[in-house]
């Protein structure tokens, strides 16, 4: 399956968002195709070819 993770294209064999990003540490969040996916749904959201996934965390700023 061809995906884009944090702007980087990659080919991986995964089924769900949880397969791709694993258990996220506290303070991180994930979005698929620019829609935030609640942590509790990571293992229920199936990824499809061409999906764009972003994982974010808090950094110093502002």
């Amino acid at each position: 399956m061809h995906l884009t993770l944090n702007g980087v294209p990659l080919d991986v064999d995964v089924t769900t968002l949880a397969d791709l990003v694993g258990p996220l540490p506290t303070g991180q969040a994930a979005a698929v195709n620019l829609e935030v996916v609640p942590r509790a749904d990571h293992d229920r959201v199936a990824l499809a070819d061409g999906d764009v996934v972003d994982v974010v965390t808090a950094v110093a700023g502002g």
């Binding site: 991180q28 969040a29 979005a31 942590r39 965390t57 808090a58 700023g61 502002g62």
Partner: protein, 261 residues
């Protein structure tokens, strides 16, 4: 003066602190100790970015509430997505809403800003928008349901202080929500002036993080916010164009040429 309350939440200080720009991450703890801020802003970035992570544990150790921002967003759509990511990642529905329209001046795009504010309020966020020093825009944001408004004193990171104190006073008069002077603070006197003008709080980032000694500047800003608040409550004298003696004229010793003494 009573404590600062935003959206029903009592904050521990009228000094809010940004964290971007510190030369070393280990300075954050001492800066927080010196500033004792009521809120601390953070940004949300991809985990693969070069920006340093690990800030949350330091903030938690110091018991400081986190205010995620939407810094860098150029449209309402981007800002709403960033706010949603921040809410999911950090477990807070508070957001410092920033939508800039110009990468040189970093001036807010007020059209996108009001649109984003309305959308985020509808989604249940507590919205604190970074805005211009325009009282009409401030009123639009307050009418949209924002919990505070955050007018700029001067451009982000400029250190030029409050360039238009009359506009800031007009913003204070225009809205019933707290006014937080945001952007432009360069040193302690800028922060004190903002409080004297009627602002309810000051947000400083670069003034502290890029000072030669961030810890000492954090301390100075804490004192300045306290001094400005006290001065405003005390009620300053009206400005006069002419002198007004403070010593009594009655009973003064006079001398004129030709007198016996």
């Amino acid at each position: 003066m009573s404590d600062l309350v935003i959206a029903g939440t009592r904050l521990a200080s009228r000094l809010l602190l940004g964290t971007g720009g510190l030369p070393r991450p280990d300075l954050l703890g001492p800066v927080l100790d010196a500033a004792r801020p009521g809120l601390v802003t953070v940004s949300v970035r991809r985990t693969s970015s070069t920006a340093a992570g690990g800030i949350l544990s330091v903030l938690q150790e110091h018991g400081v509430p986190v205010l995620p921002n939407t810094a860098g967003c150029l449209s309402a759509r981007e800002a709403v997505l960033t706010a949603e990511l921040a809410r999911e990642a950090l477990g807070t529905s508070w957001v410092k809403l920033e939508v800039v329209g110009d990468e040189t001046t970093l001036m807010p795009d007020v059209v996108e800003l009001v649109e984003a504010a309305e959308e985020l309020v509808a989604r249940g966020f507590t919205v604190l928008p970074y805005t211009t020093d325009d009282p009409v825009v401030a009123r639009r944001l307050a009418d949209a349901g924002c919990a505070a408004v955050m007018p700029l004193g001067s451009p982000i990171g400029s250190g030029l202080g409050v360039l238009n104190p009359y506009a800031i006073e007009a913003v204070v008069a225009a809205v019933d929500v707290p006014v937080v002077l945001d952007a432009g603070v360069g040193t302690a006197s800028d922060a004190a002036l903002a409080l004297e003008l009627g602002c309810d709080a000051v947000l400083a980032a670069t003034a502290v993080t890029r000072a030669a000694d961030p810890e000492r500047m954090a301390h100075a800003l804490r004192l300045a916010v306290a001094a400005g608040t006290a001065a405003r409550d005390a009620g300053r004298i009206p400005r006069r164009a002419t002198a007004r003696a403070s010593s009594p004229t009655e009973g003064r010793v006079t001398w004129s040429p030709g007198s016996s003494c």
